[in-house]
């Protein structure tokens, strides 16, 4: 590590020099960057080299019926550097009909279950994921229930359970 760690702004400037201009914003003291999907994996690999060794979270937002949104899905990656305490939020926008992006499990092992959860609830496919199974919903579930077009009360996926009466016991 260098004696004085580079600020997030320096990292951003270097990243912009590598991949071209990026849409950035600051919210409550934290920097957010929108990275195009095609450049995302290379950007993540480079950011990891710059000291962002901790993947805090991978989550997703469904912007369906969101008036100002240009894309349907927004993946959110929260990165942190354990050496410098810097934090960086990377956002990657995806669209139907095949929302998918490259898995970051080769970079951060923590992404394994986080990406499984996003796949389970939002139906975002992570190509190259070693084990992309459902995480929280039952295995035979077919829908991705945190999508905004999924009805709140469900589609009756598991309402065909056997009913136990006193006769069965």
């Amino acid at each position: 590590m260098p004696s004085t760690p580079p600020s997030v702004d320096d990292v951003l400037a270097a990243l912009t020099a590598r991949v071209g201009s990026l849409e950035t914003s600051v919210s409550r003291g934290q920097t957010r960057v929108v990275v195009p999907e095609s450049l995302a994996f290379d950007a993540f690999a480079w950011l990891k080299e710059q000291g962002f060794d901790l993947l805090v979270d991978v989550t997703c937002v469904d912007y369906l019926e969101y008036k100002a949104a240009k894309h349907r899905y927004g993946l959110v990656y929260l990165l942190a550097s354990t050496a410098t305490n810097q934090r960086l939020t990377i956002r990657v926008f995806l669209d139907d009909p095949d929302p998918s992006t490259r898995s970051v499990v080769p970079l951060w092992k923590a992404a394994n279950w986080l990406e499984r959860e996003v796949w389970d609830l939002f139906g975002i496919r992570f190509t190259g994921h070693p084990d992309l199974r459902r995480l929280v919903m039952p295995e035979e579930f077919t829908a991705h229930p945190l999508r905004k077009d999924y009805p709140l009360q469900g589609r009756g996926e598991r309402h065909n359970f056997p009913v136990l009466t006193r006769d069965h016991s």
Binding site: P138, P145, R155, F161, L164, R166, D167, S169
Partner: protein, 213 residues
């Protein structure tokens, strides 16, 4: 125990230490005062369930303080909290692992109806999938309410219980039993002085006749 050797023609003389009662009643009295709960606690109702078992509310006063975490040792399942769809097969498996006779209390709004969690992931009332004897309203219910439910359940066991568990009979079971009676020729039993048996036999005959038509 004293043994009655001779029975007078029309009057039974009993020693002082002999009590006559129905065997069902004795079994019920034993069962109701020794309920062993299976705590299926999944949410905040579980906290009230623990409080019910703890010293202040003292469920031991009603003979139901022995919480066991093995369904093989329990006869009262207390479902305290919401049950998600993914948990339901577990709940059903545990219920099936419990020995007869067994009872179920659905504690709180979530277990009884799904409560505020009207979503795809939560079972909208466990009685859709397993039999329930007592429902406790509340969100969560206070320990007093749970104790009231246990007292009511004791009352139910005392009133309805039978030593062979006939009170759990469903229509399907009854049909099977009546078919057995058909094979065993119920007319060999003298029912002339037993109105209850007469009614049972008439009902069995009706069931058989209805099936043959």
């Amino acid at each position: 125990m004293a043994v009655v050797h001779s029975v007078p023609s029309n009057r039974l003389e009993l020693p002082e230490n002999v009590v006559i009662g129905r065997l069902d009643s004795l079994a019920n009295w034993c069962r109701k005062n020794s309920l062993w709960p299976m705590p299926f606690a999944t949410a905040c109702c579980g906290i009230e369930l623990m409080a019910t078992g703890a010293s202040k509310h003292d469920l031991a006063r009603f003979g139901a303080e022995v919480f066991r975490f093995s369904p093989r040792q329990c006869d009262l399942m207390i479902v305290a909290g919401r049950v998600v769809m993914k948990m339901l097969p577990v709940l059903q498996r545990i219920w099936q692992q419990m020995h007869e006779p067994k009872w179920c209390i659905s504690m709180g709004a979530c277990a009884s109806t799904g409560g505020v969690f009207d979503t795809y992931a939560v079972v909208q009332g466990i009685d859709r999938f397993i039999p329930v004897d007592m429902y406790v309203p509340g969100c969560p219910p206070r320990p007093e309410q749970l104790i009231q439910a246990i007292i009511d359940l004791q009352d139910k066991i005392q009133r309805e219980g039978t030593i062979t568990g006939r009170e759990f009979d469903t229509a399907g079971r009854q049909l099977r039993k009546r078919a057995l009676e058909e094979i065993a020729s119920p007319l060999s039993i003298d029912a002339s002085r037993n109105p209850m048996l007469q009614r049972e036999l008439a009902a069995a005959a009706d069931a058989i006749a209805g099936r043959n038509n």
